[in-house]
């Protein structure tokens, strides 16, 4: 059978021209890629940021044309101008940011946009819109404004907008990067259903390894070339190569790999939690050992600096637009103390009040009722200097790189200290120190922040807050949209800062990140503080968490499954290391 997409020696160069239109710089984004995609397949494309995945995808939709080589979509050469609309409608493309691809003010109007462009007759447009809405389960929202939808819903609308053009192939360029875990599940479910029920070929570009486990095939790209190509089992068995490329494995596969390294004879192609548990069970037909689970040693208190600042919310309630019909409660009677030197994780679903909560911590929002106290002093007291407080309680918003504005990195990082009214010398010192802390060398100082890569921009923005030398640093989803290695680096930076005595508050959707790093976790639900305790205490309440719509860390899930089968592992293991330890304790003797 003719492949639905075929590329032969596909090459693409980004050409940078100077003012006189002379070629200044050529960057090869896609390098000699020859691939055949079979109709009906679900293909995942993995690779680090800048590996050429997106550029490759844009070739398939004729948004970019090859510099060298050829691309055929459904048998048509994409470089042939006459087949442009056929190529674009048969290989539809969904992009990362759900907001930036919805054109109309009403969901159904937006879905009709594609067919309208294709000149489809009115009656048929309505049919197609209906079918597309049904296919992604959004019928109930046909008349809604996109502003009222969640991220996952918006992304499903975007997919429906492509479906209405009746494509044979769906290309999704990191469709879940900006979504919360629930939105991610929604979108993936919809895509898998389209693949199975409607036999639409799917090309999914993603950073989330878990999303690729169910794919028929994985293509791994590096520096514009295809590095690996095979089934998920084949790909994830080559863990060393993946690690070396800066990619992560699904948690179960990672754990299996570590255990193999420690000498357990596990098969090399384990992908899911279930498979790992089965493999471990068959490895040890013997009964569970009577031995008590080992207490892990990681619960030693961090050593404390002499004077500890303390930030307290006392019965804080916050209402949005009080006194209007649109009044909504953002926070509901929250009492919470945050201490310098601790690492606090805040988890909860979208809309549970996390963002509202952190904006109270530095006085950006004023409680409708209740008080915010900094070292016992009410921050909304008459004499209290809230601007000075913002230097002590640093707040890093989601996608902080969107707030960069200066010509050079050093100037941008200096913005905070400058507002604090420090001397030139002190400002420069602090800025350089902050850049060093986030791993940006002095070479970056005079570069434009807008020329940096995504991960570097994020770090520069973080430095901008660190330069104010906060005692408590609050971060809202700091790892969103980063690739695995970027994520890891950022978390390492946070742990380093904590070791220097800074209090860290991490708001995150990633249970793994919070479980591995936090000393204490607060769970938010419907504006209320639902739970507050050590990670161990929190993740022991698995059922309650599930009820709220939150998960437990992937490795914890695995050890709990083992525990249920009667093995004497420590069901409280939260990090990869702890899981490896406790399994080895039982399995190797």
């Amino acid at each position: 059978m003719e492949p639905i997409i075929r590329t032969e020696h596909l090459t693409y160069d980004y050409i940078v021209r100077d003012d006189e239109n002379a070629v200044e710089n050529v960057r090869r984004a896609v390098n000699d890629v020859s691939l055949n995609i079979k109709a009906g397949d679900f293909v995942a494309i993995l690779g680090r940021n800048g590996s050429g995945k997106s550029t490759f995808a844009k070739q398939l939709n004729a948004l970019l044309y090859p510099t060298g080589g050829t691309v055929w979509v459904c048998g048509r050469d994409t470089a042939d101008e006459e087949s442009l609309w056929e190529v674009r409608s048969s290989a539809g493309m969904v992009f990362q940011n759900p907001d930036n691809q919805i054109i109309a003010q009403m969901v159904e109007d937006d879905i009709g946009f594609g067919p309208e462009n294709l000149g489809v007759p009115t009656a048929e447009i309505w049919q197609r819109v209906e079918q597309a809405l049904h296919a992604v389960g959004m019928e109930a929202y046909a008349q809604s404004s996109p502003m009222r939808l969640s991220g996952g819903q918006k992304q499903r609308v975007a997919i429906a907008g492509i479906l209405a053009m009746q494509p044979k192939c769906l290309i999704l360029d990191e469709p879940t990067a900006m979504l919360d875990p629930e939105g991610r599940r929604e979108v993936l479910k919809a895509v898998h259903e389209l693949n199975k029920a409607a036999h639409i070929t799917v090309l999914l570009i993603t950073h989330y390894m878990e999303e690729t486990v169910d794919a028929d095939r994985i293509v791994v790209m590096q520096s514009g070339s295809v590095r690996m190509d095979g089934s998920p089992r084949e790909i994830f068995a080559r863990s060393d190569e993946l690690h070396e490329m800066g990619l992560a494995l699904p948690q179960a596969a990672e754990l299996a790999g570590r255990l193999r390294q420690e000498g357990l004879k596990l098969p090399a192609d384990i992908l899911t939690a279930e498979e790992l548990v089965e493999a471990l069970a068959s490895l040890k037909q013997a009964e569970a050992m009577a031995q008590k689970p080992m207490q892990t040693a990681s619960e030693a208190a961090p050593k404390a600096p002499e004077h500890l600042s303390e930030l307290t919310l006392s019965h804080v309630t916050y209402e949005y637009e009080p006194g209007t019909p649109m009044e909504t409660v953002g926070l509901d009677d929250v009492t919470l103390t945050i201490r310098q030197g601790e690492f606090l994780g805040i988890i909860g679903r979208t809309g549970s009040g996390k963002s509202t909560l952190i904006q109270h911590l530095n006085g950006l929002l004023r409680p409708t009722r209740g008080e915010v106290l900094w070292n016992g002093e009410n921050i909304f007291g008459e004499k209290f200097d809230r601007r000075a407080l913002r230097g002590k309680v640093g707040l890093v918003f989601q996608y902080p790189e969107h707030q960069l504005f200066e010509e050079t990195v050093i100037k941008d990082v200096s913005f905070g200290p400058k507002n604090q009214g420090l001397t030139e010398n002190e400002i420069l010192n602090r800025a350089l120190h902050a850049m060093e802390a986030v791993g940006l060398s002095q070479d970056y100082a005079d570069r434009s922040p807008f020329d940096l890569s995504g991960g570097e921009k994020r770090r520069a923005a973080l430095a901008g807050v660190l330069a104010m030398q906060p005692e408590i640093l609050i971060l809202d989803e700091p790892t969103a949209g980063l690739d695995p290695i970027g994520r890891e680096r950022l978390l390492e930076t946070l742990l380093k800062l904590k070791a220097e005595g800074i209090g860290i508050v991490l708001v995150s959707h990633s249970m793994d990140d919070v479980a591995e790093n936090a000393d204490r976790i607060v769970v938010m639900r419907g504006g209320k503080k639902e739970m507050d305790g050590s990670p161990r205490e929190i993740f022991r309440r698995e059922r309650e968490l599930k009820e709220i719509g939150l998960a437990i860390p992937a490795v914890t899930h695995i050890v709990r499954m083992l525990e249920e089968r009667g093995y004497a592992v420590n069901g409280d293991a939260l990090s990869m290391e702890e899981a490896v330890q406790t399994i080895l304790n039982v399995w190797s003797d």
């Binding site: 939709n61 674009r88 992009f95 930036n100 691809q101 109007d109 969107h402 507002n419 104010m468």
Partner: protein, 262 residues
């Protein structure tokens, strides 16, 4: 906070007026506006007010909502009343030192107020009964003939659509950026004008960068969905004149003739 911010102010109920074609309503509003400038005495204004009131009742939009439209121009209204009353020459009714009120002044002011209020009420009725999307479509299809004299009607309508869609998003974004810069100790409240203007740079630069990024994303998404301008495009919701439209339009013309005759 700004989730529901839109240009205009659609009041979503089902009424005869809501169901009228946007082009009809645009044309009727135009007739209404012209009639206000043609009207020469209070009888004509009175007639106009009664007719407008009937339309409003038919539209099922609460009168309070329509009246709300006056709020933003209250200041303007106050100033024009003030100038008209005190600065019009004529028969003096009341005087105190250099200040005097004339009969002509009072009439002029009343004239002015009636005209402005009727104008606002009429246009509010249009925006309350026509969604921005319908309005854009109405303008595009109603003015399509202008294409023959090289006016890019479709492009303008598309720009309006996109502006309507992205205005609330950019408003949200502005709020977020303000918060983020405040968190870095930025001060927007104190200092003189120069200082305050300078304080806007950390807001405006990221806002522009973001707007351009969104624009380029959107352009790509539109291309991916085969957008290629207005030619050979079909419509999901084509506007169609119904009998109600012809009736409404005839009534409007009749009204206009009467206003002229009065």
């Amino acid at each position: 906070m700004f989730r529901d911010l839109t240009l205009g102010q659609y009041y979503p109920v089902d009424s005869v007026i809501h169901r009228l074609d946007a082009r009809t309503k645009l044309l009727m509003t135009l007739i209404h506006l012209i009639s206000l400038f043609v009207a020469r005495d209070f009888l004509a204004f009175g007639f106009s007010a009664v007719v407008l009131a009937l339309w409003i009742i038919l539209s099922k939009v609460p009168f309070g909502y329509i009246a709300r439209g006056i709020k933003p121009i209250l200041f303007l209204l106050g100033i024009s009343i003030f100038f008209n009353i005190f600065w019009t020459k004529g028969e003096v009714i009341w005087a105190l030192g250099p200040i005097s009120v004339t009969k002509e002044g009072l009439i002029q002011a009343a004239w002015m107020v009636t005209r402005l209020v009727l104008l606002i009420f009429g246009t509010s009725l249009l925006t309350y009964t026509t969604s921005p999307t319908q309005l854009t479509a109405g303008l595009e299809q109603g003015l399509y003939f202008l294409r023959y004299i090289k006016v890019p009607v479709h492009e303008i309508a598309m720009m309006m659509t996109i502006a309507l869609r992205f205005l609330p998003i950019l408003t949200q974004e502005t709020n977020k950026i303000i918060m983020a810069q405040k968190a870095r100790g930025a001060d927007f409240e104190s200092g003189n004008i120069v200082k305050r203007a300078k304080a806007l740079v950390p807001i405006l630069v990221p806002l522009f960068v973001s707007a351009f990024r969104r624009a380029s994303d959107l352009a790509m998404a539109m291309e991916a969905r085969c957008y290629h301008g207005g030619d050979n495009r079909t419509r999901m919701k084509p506007l169609k004149f119904t009998r109600a439209d012809y009736l409404a339009f005839s009534l409007a013309v009749l009204y206009f003739v009467i206003v002229i005759l009065i």
